[in-house]
């Protein structure tokens, strides 16, 4: 039952991803190709320089046009547009993103995939930590709010949620940096670690030291929302008949709240947590930029500034893959946690 559900979701996810990749390839085809052409010209120029200087001009011209033809054929530029799009999409799906025009990984490589792969874990580290703290704090506060719904604390913290609702996280980040890193110089203004990075255990301390301000900012904005949502979810459940029935059966309040209520609330809360994580995969480009946190988001920013199209495209593809993958995992987790889906319908 559950396996069928799993497979269905995974297949859908893959289908959507592949469709999107094709759409992106088509949409951005022109740009990508113009970059490709310039790259080809660069390569040819490089090769020409290595030629024997004694060659006659006509021979050089012939050589250039030969090489050009060869490369155009290699990159399928001589084929009709559909074929090019398809070929490019297949490349992407096999993780072959090509070479970056300007940017390089910290090891100096130009391979786009390597550049991206380096940045990915940093994004994951930062946002998973922040979301984890958000959820924990959100649970603590949200449960309290649900228990005393309509009370003073509930109302005031709800106002807090609304106040930060429209606040861009990156703006708060700017303020936090301005204050904590420039006015009162206790924290670094950004970056992953100090230069040069310390070794051994001190490396991790340094890493967390650098993570403090961004995580603080994310939590300041995020935890109100999660507390509010958790409060609503739990409150909704507490009004259900089965909670009253459990109390009637003499189940102690502690078990009703943390057992029956929380267990029923688990699917939507986990969904919420995963959704926030997903949103951060796509949405925190500027945030990372402000803090110079070298993750996927920051990579976008830099690749735009430097006009490095291959990196930009590769990043887009990877982000989309992560995003859709996240959605699939979300569905699977929800299905796992909610017996109504996991175990399915009725026997009769």
């Amino acid at each position: 039952m559950y396996w069928k559900y799993c497979i269905k979701r995974i297949v859908y996810g893959l289908a959507i991803f592949i469709t999107l990749i094709f759409i992106f390839s088509a949409l951005f085809n022109t740009t990508m190709e113009s970059t490709l052409r310039s790259q080809i010209e660069e390569e040819i120029r490089g090769e020409t320089l290595k030629l024997d200087t004694r060659m006659k001009p006509e021979e050089i011209t012939r050589y250039i046009s030969e090489r050009r033809e060869f490369k155009r054929h290699l990159y399928h530029l001589d084929k009709p547009i559909w074929s090019r799009i398809v070929w490019r999409a297949i490349n992407v799906l096999s993780l072959n993103f090509g070479k970056a025009t300007i940017m390089r990984s910290s090891a100096g490589e130009a391979d786009v995939w390597k550049i991206i792969a380096e940045c990915l874990p940093r994004t994951v580290l930062l946002f998973t930590t922040a979301i984890f703290i958000n959820i924990v704090l959100g649970l603590l506060l949200g449960l309290k709010k649900a228990q005393k719904a309509g009370g003073l604390m509930d109302k005031t913290t709800s106002i807090g949620t609304m106040i930060v609702y429209g606040m861009p996280s990156w703006w708060l980040g700017m303020l936090v940096i301005m204050f904590f890193a420039y006015t009162v110089r206790i924290f670094p203004s950004g970056g992953l670690h100090s230069i040069p990075p310390p070794t051994g255990f001190a490396y991790y301390i340094d890493l967390f030291y650098h993570m403090t301000l961004p995580v603080l900012t994310l939590v300041l904005i995020g935890f109100w929302g999660s507390a509010f949502l958790i409060r609503n979810i739990v409150l909704g459940i507490l009004q259900e008949d089965y909670i009253m029935a459990a109390r009637a059966r003499g189940i102690p309040e502690r078990k009703v709240l943390y057992g029956h209520a929380m267990r029923t609330a688990a699917p939507p809360i986990v969904t919420m947590a995963l959704l926030s994580l997903l949103a951060s995969v796509g949405g925190n480009i500027i945030f990372e930029g402000i803090f110079s946190w070298p993750g996927l988001g920051n990579l976008y920013w830099i690749s735009i500034e430097q006009n490095d199209i291959p990196v930009l495209m590769g990043n887009l593809f990877v982000t989309t893959a992560l995003y859709i993958g996240g959605l699939v995992i979300l569905d699977l987790t929800y299905g796992f946690l909610d017996p109504r889906i996991k175990v399915g319908g009725r026997p009769q």
């Binding site: 008949d241 029935a245 059966r249 003499g250 189940i251 029956h260 029923t264 017996p339 175990v343 009725r346």
Partner: protein, 326 residues
């Protein structure tokens, strides 16, 4: 009638809801008794206070409601002064339990049936897993369910099966009083009949004292011995089935209308009879007798004074001014 025969005695129970629109007099000064082994039917329209009353018996009136007066004696002990902890540990489910309505949503969807039943037993009695399991299976069989139900989740069961589970759960601690709140309402007729038969059998076998709430008079007639009619938070009539169902005897105008509203199978029906008007607003109830705006036999006195329950026959009380004059 000795008091020790009464397993439940309710005296002047008042339950109010404090809402933004005002104070709702949901249950306004109700007194009745339940004898050992008896089934007491509680009938009335939606919103007349039936469910609130029985929730009050378990001190589980939901906010913004509160019990504002009266005494409730279960087996001689007044439960009003008991704390929430004491209620939970000693009274609820051990002395008085409840079979919920339609078994729609009263089982937690994320726990198996077995886990919920196990949890209930072990919360009250200090017995091991295997012993508890034996007891659960015992009662499941009693209600006609196989053992494997234990491993099922609530959504996997049909309405009738869920209802049986709920009945089994209500009984296995062997409480003295069982409240059945419209247990057959949401079920189709065939299953309804099955459940009712089951309840009758269990009542006989286990010697239960039952309060049976329903708005269906036919069911009530089958299951109950005595009948309580409630209207707008007050008791309109108390009596045995014979006294009330039997033709010709004294009767409260509301009860009379209730009966007339059910068309008889073997009589010619010219027009469907109904009770004109709507149930009153309990924030600002009508003066005097609460039924007077809709009563066809209304007198001047009814508009001013609230009629008390008057014993018109032995064990038959009616709250109506008409019956004092007759």
């Amino acid at each position: 009638m000795a008091d020790t025969d009464n397993i439940l005695k309710v005296e002047n129970l008042k339950i109010n809801f404090f809402t933004r629109k005002g104070k709702v007099y949901a249950v306004d000064d109700i007194s009745f008794t339940l004898k050992k082994g008896e089934t007491l039917g509680l009938v009335g329209e939606s919103g007349c206070g039936k469910t609130t009353t029985v929730l009050g018996l378990m001190k589980m009136v939901p906010t913004p409601g509160e019990i504002t007066g009266g005494r409730i004696l279960i087996d001689g002990e007044n439960i009003m002064p008991l704390s929430e902890n004491q209620m939970r540990e000693k009274v609820r489910w051990e002395k008085i339990s409840m079979v919920f309505q339609g078994a729609m949503n009263c089982l937690t969807p994320v726990y198996t049936v077995g886990k919920q039943m196990m949890e209930t037993i072990q919360e009250h009695k200090d017995i091991g897993n295997s012993e508890a399991k034996k007891k659960i299976i015992n009662y499941l069989n009693l209600v006609g369910l196989p053992e494997e139900i234990i491993r099922r989740y609530p959504h996997e069961l049909s309405g009738g099966m869920k209802q049986r589970v709920v009945i089994a759960t209500a009984l296995f601690l062997e409480p003295k009083i069982v409240i059945c709140d419209e247990p057959t309402t949401a079920l189709d007729v065939v299953v309804q009949a099955q459940i009712i038969n089951l309840l009758k059998e269990l009542k006989k076998r286990l010697g239960l004292s039952v309060i049976f709430i329903t708005h269906d008079l036919a069911t009530e007639a089958e299951v109950a011995d005595r009948l309580l009619v409630m209207y707008a938070g007050k008791l309109a009539e108390i009596g045995t089935n014979e006294q009330i169902y039997g033709k010709g005897g004294p009767i409260h105008p509301y009860t009379e209308k209730l009966f007339n509203a059910t068309p008889r199978l073997h009589e010619k029906v010219e027009e469907l009879s109904f009770i004109p008007g709507t149930p009153p607003d309990l924030v600002d109830p009508p003066s005097g007798c609460r039924f007077h705006p809709r009563c066809l036999k209304v007198m001047e006195r009814c508009k001013k004074d609230q009629p008390p329950l008057i014993e018109v026959e032995p064990e038959h009380w009616i709250a109506c001014w008409r019956n004092t004059n007759d």
